[in-house]
């Protein structure tokens, strides 16, 4: 039984594992791969490929594998990308996939379900699977609902109610238009109610995501070669995490180090030195990764005297204070937020303070409720449906968009049904003859 839609998900190695496998399954899997890497690869022969972003920036150079259905794990066309496990890279790839037509994030257990439907799992395996799935899905659901932070479920329930109420108003106008308590629907008022809810959701979507609390704030250390980036990382991590050397171009790949400072979790990323004139192919890849990491990071620590790449949270550093002087150095100091020597420790406390200051803006405030990725995705769907609803004049189409919004909530809570909407309807309006 074929599915029309193609699903994808991070299927192993939650970041920051060294390798993260993103799996795509369904009729559009091969096409999605081609879109991502701009070329065909033969089935069953692993290739190192280049995944580019929409702007042509290089996201990663993963290993790609392609299996043609039905001889695949799910029985459908399957593509696997073995990414370098940084969160930023994985997120960027998942975001790219989400933008492709016909692709969507897999629901919990959906790969297994497809594999099973296509006879790719034997029954013995499947026996144990039911319980496993039930348990797995339940934890995921709980996670998705963020029962750990009861605030989210409360907030979601409140929005769902609000959505139901708007839907009830429309349904009342449609199904009971001849009742005087209902009267003709005020479409403008309904649009306004949709806008109000959409605005609330947008405000929440602007809030810092929950993952930052759990996984840490990402800080990219970037700048030209030999600026002292790796030395700075080691000073912050208080161990020799990265190789340092007087040779320009020492660091080639991204080195990520989790560090907790002052109760805040960070993930510091040391990156390859940036320069335009590299003729070394490997270094070029490193530079591309460095730029991507800088762009994706929550905070950018910039060690160059040139202007840093645009970023909303940049801290400029004048580094190696202990051994530099002269006009150029004076200019660097003027442009810098903090003057640091990783060797002597001068300015390190001020740097960490500056980072902590930025971090606090990026973290959910104490007592604030934060949304995780799944919740954000769903709410973004709801917000999009509400925006569509505001553009429709035909009440019926407005209702159709609200149906989409409600089924998005459904996916999150597994709750609302027509009955709930009817409850809202009959509770509010005196209807019936």
């Amino acid at each position: 039984m074929g599915h029309d839609d193609t699903i994808f998900a991070l299927s192993s190695g939650a970041p920051p594992a060294a390798i993260a496998v993103v799996r795509i399954s369904g009729p559009a899997a091969t096409e999605a791969l081609n879109d991502l890497i701009g070329m065909d690869i033969p089935a069953r022969s692993p290739r190192v490929v280049t995944v580019k972003g929409t702007q042509g920036n290089i996201i990663d150079r993963p290993l790609a594998l392609r299996f043609a259905g039905p001889a695949s794990a799910t029985g459908e066309d399957v593509v696997e990308l073995h990414l370098h496990g940084g969160r930023a890279v994985v997120d960027a790839v998942l975001a790219r996939l989400g933008e492709l037509d016909g692709l969507r994030q897999a629901e919990p257990g959906e790969f297994t379900r497809r594999a099973f439907e296509n006879g790719r799992l034997d029954l013995l395996e499947a026996e144990g699977l039911a319980d496993l799935l039930a348990a797995e899905t339940e934890t995921q659901r709980r996670q998705a609902m963020g029962f750990a932070s009861g605030g989210v479920s409360q907030a979601v329930a409140a929005w769902q109610d609000e959505c139901l109420t708007i839907a009830a108003r429309i349904e009342a106008a449609i199904d009971f238009s001849d009742e005087d308590d209902v009267g003709d629907a005020d479409v403008a008022a309904i649009h306004m109610a949709c806008a109000a809810l959409a605005a609330k959701l947008a405000a929440w979507l602007d809030r810092p995501p929950a993952e930052r609390l759990r996984d840490g704030i990402t800080v990219a250390i970037a700048g030209p070669p030999n600026a002292g980036k790796s030395t700075l990382l080691n000073a912050i991590a208080q161990r020799e995490a990265a190789i340092t050397a007087p040779t320009a171009g020492t660091t080639r790949d991204i080195v990520e180090v989790p560090v907790a400072i002052g109760g805040i979790a960070y993930r510091f990323a040391d990156t390859a030195g940036l320069r335009d004139d590299s003729d070394d192919a490997v270094e070029a890849i490193g530079i591309a990764r460095a730029l991507a990491a800088a762009a994706e990071a929550d905070i950018l620590v910039w060690l160059g005297s040139d202007d840093p790449p645009t970023h909303s949270a940049t801290i400029r550093i004048a580094a190696q204070a202990d051994r530099r002087s002269g006009v150029e150095w004076d200019m660097a100091v003027d442009a810098a937020d903090v003057v640091v020597s990783a060797l002597t420790g001068e300015g390190m406390a001020a740097l960490l303070d500056a980072i902590a200051g930025r971090a606090r803006d990026l973290l959910p405030r104490e007592g604030d409720v934060a949304l995780n990725r799944r919740q954000r995705d769903t709410l973004a769907d709801v917000a999009a449906a509400l925006d569509d609803a505001q553009c429709a004049r035909d009440l019926l189409i407005v209702a159709e968009h609200l149906r989409s919004a409600m089924s998005a909530f459904d996916r999150l809570t597994g709750r609302a049904r027509t009955e709930d909407m009817l409850d809202a309807l009959f509770g509010r309006f005196c209807i019936g003859k």
Binding site: M1, H3, D4, D5, E107, P108, G109, T112, R113, F116, E117, L123, A126, E127, L129, A130, D131, L133, A134, A135, E136, T137, E138, R141, E171, A173, I174, D175, F176, S177, D178, E179, D180, D181, D184, D394, L395, L396, I397, E400, R403, G414, R417, T418, E419, M421, L422, L425, F426, C430, I431, G432, K433
Partner: protein
């Protein structure tokens, strides 16, 4: 002993459609009912159609049923509800003359050579092992058939209430069917109580019509059945009045004498059809409730005050009526009352409306928890078609919620059960943009042909309709619009939609359209207008279709599947879903539960 293919018990809306469709399919049918004269009787408001309900009427018509044609024969007031809203939710509604309506139904039943009407009380089913084999009449006659449709309405264990008074009965002035009701309980069918009510009927000669706002019949000459090409009867007007503070004071003063509040009735009534007692109690802040005064017929003075269903005592009813504008001198001809009755929990039925535990037994109409003529007629059609299929050894007839309101209703009933009388609403249909009153023939024509219930007359009409659609479609696609900025060429249809011009109004500028069938024009226009959304729904339906094809066997042991909660198992056992798709629609069933059942199914199959 008389032998038939199908026996139908009940000459109401469900029973008549059941008997007629079975006969059209070719079964020999016995229609058993208390009295020949009450065949096709409307127990309550003589109106047919409305929102959701009008869709059902058109769907029954797509199977060549009776109700739409009878409604046209009896209509004395036409009103298209939601005229200003999208075509998918327009609700055709007529006010019918109840005498003409019953006469039309009786004439159509009489014309069916395959139907034998048998007067009297059906007292008990006869069983052969577990399966039904016929029934015994109260006078001792025996009828035999391999399929029986129960369409006994509110007559099972019916009890009427008005003020402090109460008595057994199915409708005012008619007896209840007590013996049959008792047998169903004894057979172990899940039976529970529901209630509904009706307002007092007024003598129209005592109403001050001049003081009231009139509502005329629609000028636009649409009809309930597409085949009816003209209005038959003189059109009457309705009038509108409302309750006021004084009315509410009177009702509040009588609440303690209403069986609804004194505790005499504790069955649940419908939320969308509350009594005036309920309205005033629950919405205390409202200073008035609207009442439509609807004439019951051409040859009667009776008027139905729509909106004030009540079971208050006579004296309170009278005072209440006389407190209302235009009704100061109005006299009550028949007082309002509430009725409490038995219904069979529809979750004991399968998709054919067959009782799972008793092969050959089918149920339809108010007896399975619905309310309304249209709902009853539609269910009767479904049960009758399946009873005939059983008797004649044909394939079961299934209705799908993605293609019909009838499918939505059956699916809702048999999977969720009812906690109040079920009434059709467009809000219940998730794919309502596809399920329009204007495209019922197109949606269901092919299915109806396959079921074999279309007369020669209808087959011709359907063919003609299809030709008309093709004609319109060709015109609309082909003729490129003349004007458009940047020289871009659009089809005529797209151009009209963009300019928001109704196709049937475009005849002046596009003479070719003027020559087309307006019904076909409307239908194609809606298809085009909702095109993008229809495509999206189509995709959604395809994604869900896989689960619909996975059958769950009758004897599947839900309790034996690891990981299902007790509450889920209880609901699953009550409704016994036939497919994984149906299972997924039962309230409270999670995706994980579906997967667990799927895995077990594959294991059972291996």
């Amino acid at each position: 002993m008389d032998n038939f293919d199908v026996i139908v018990v009940g000459g109401g809306h469900a029973g008549c459609e059941a008997a007629a469709v079975a006969a059209r399919i070719g079964a020999r049918v016995a229609l058993v009912t208390f009295s020949r004269e009450t065949i096709g009787a409307m127990s309550c408001n003589p109106a047919i159609g409305g929102l959701g309900k009008g869709h059902l009427v058109r769907e029954v018509d797509a199977y060549d049923g009776l109700i739409a044609r009878a409604a046209d024969a009896a209509a004395i007031h036409y009103r298209m509800l939601n005229m200003s809203k999208g075509a998918a939710v327009r609700g055709p509604r007529v006010q019918a003359d109840r005498v003409l309506f019953a006469a039309a139904i009786q004439a159509m039943i009489a014309r069916e050579a395959n139907i034998t009407v048998i007067e009297g009380e059906a007292e008990a089913l006869t069983l052969d092992d577990d399966a039904v084999s016929g029934l015994v009449m109260a006078d001792g006659r025996l009828l035999s058939a391999p399929a029986v449709v129960l369409a006994a309405g509110t007559f099972l264990g019916g009890r009427l209430y008005r003020g402090e008074w109460s008595g057994a009965g199915g409708r005012t002035g008619e007896r209840a069917a007590t013996a049959l009701g008792k047998q169903l309980r004894d057979l172990g069918l899940p039976v529970a109580r529901l209630k509904t009510g009706t307002p007092p009927r007024l003598d129209g000669r005592t109403i001050d019509w001049a003081a009231l706002v009139r509502q005329e019949s629609d000028a636009d000459p649409w009809t309930m059945a597409p085949e009816t090409r003209a209005r038959r009867n003189p059109q009457l007007f309705c009038a509108i009045t409302r309750t006021n503070e004084a009315t509410h004071e009177i009702v509040r003063g009588g609440l303690d004498r209403s069986p609804l509040f004194s505790g005499a009735i504790d069955a649940k009534g419908p939320r969308y059809c509350p009594s005036i007692e309920d309205k005033i109690h629950r919405f205390a802040d409202r200073d008035g409730h609207q009442i439509f005064l609807e004439p019951e017929g051409l040859a009667t003075h009776l008027v139905y005050p729509n909106g004030i269903s009540t079971s208050l005592p006579d004296d309170v009813q009278r005072a209440m009526i006389n407190s209302i504008a235009g009704l100061e001198g109005a006299e009550i001809a028949v007082p309002g009352y509430a009725v409490e009755y038995d219904h069979v929990d529809p979750r004991c039925l399968d998709r054919r409306l067959g009782v799972r535990a008793i092969p050959g037994l089918f149920c339809a109409g108010q007896i399975i928890g619905t309310t309304g003529y249209e709902e009853a007629a539609a269910l009767g059609l479904a049960a009758g078609a399946n009873a005939a299929a059983t008797a004649l050894g044909r394939d079961a007839v299934h209705f799908d919620r993605t293609t019909s309101y009838l499918g939505v209703m059956i699916d809702d009933l048999i999977l969720q059960g009812v906690s109040e009388p079920y009434r059709m609403l467009t809000a219940r249909a998730e794919y309502r943009l596809r399920l329009r009153a204007d495209n019922a023939w197109t949606r269901l024509g092919e299915h109806a042909e396959a079921v074999g219930c279309l007369s020669e007359r209808r087959l011709d009409a359907l063919a003609a309709h299809r030709t008309a659609l093709t004609e319109v479609a060709t015109l609309i696609d082909g003729v490129a619009a003349t004007s458009s900025r940047n020289g871009e060429r659009r089809s005529l249809g797209d151009a009209l939609i963009q300019q928001d011009i109704a196709f049937r109004d475009a005849g002046d500028d596009h003479p070719a359209l003027a020559a087309c069938d307006p019904v076909a024009l409307d239908e194609i226009e809606s298809d085009l207008r909702y095109g993008p959304y229809l495509a999206r729904q189509e995709a959604e339906i395809r994604a869900l279709a896989a689960n619909e094809r996975i059958a769950i066997p009758d004897d599947f042991d839900f309790a034996g599947v690891g990981g299902l909660s007790n509450e889920m198992i209880e609901r699953l056992d009550a409704a016994r879903p036939e497919t994984l798709g149906m299972m997924g629609r039962i309230a409270g069933i999670t995706p994980a539960a579906l997967t667990a059942v799927l895995v077990r199914l594959r294991r059972v199959a291996a």
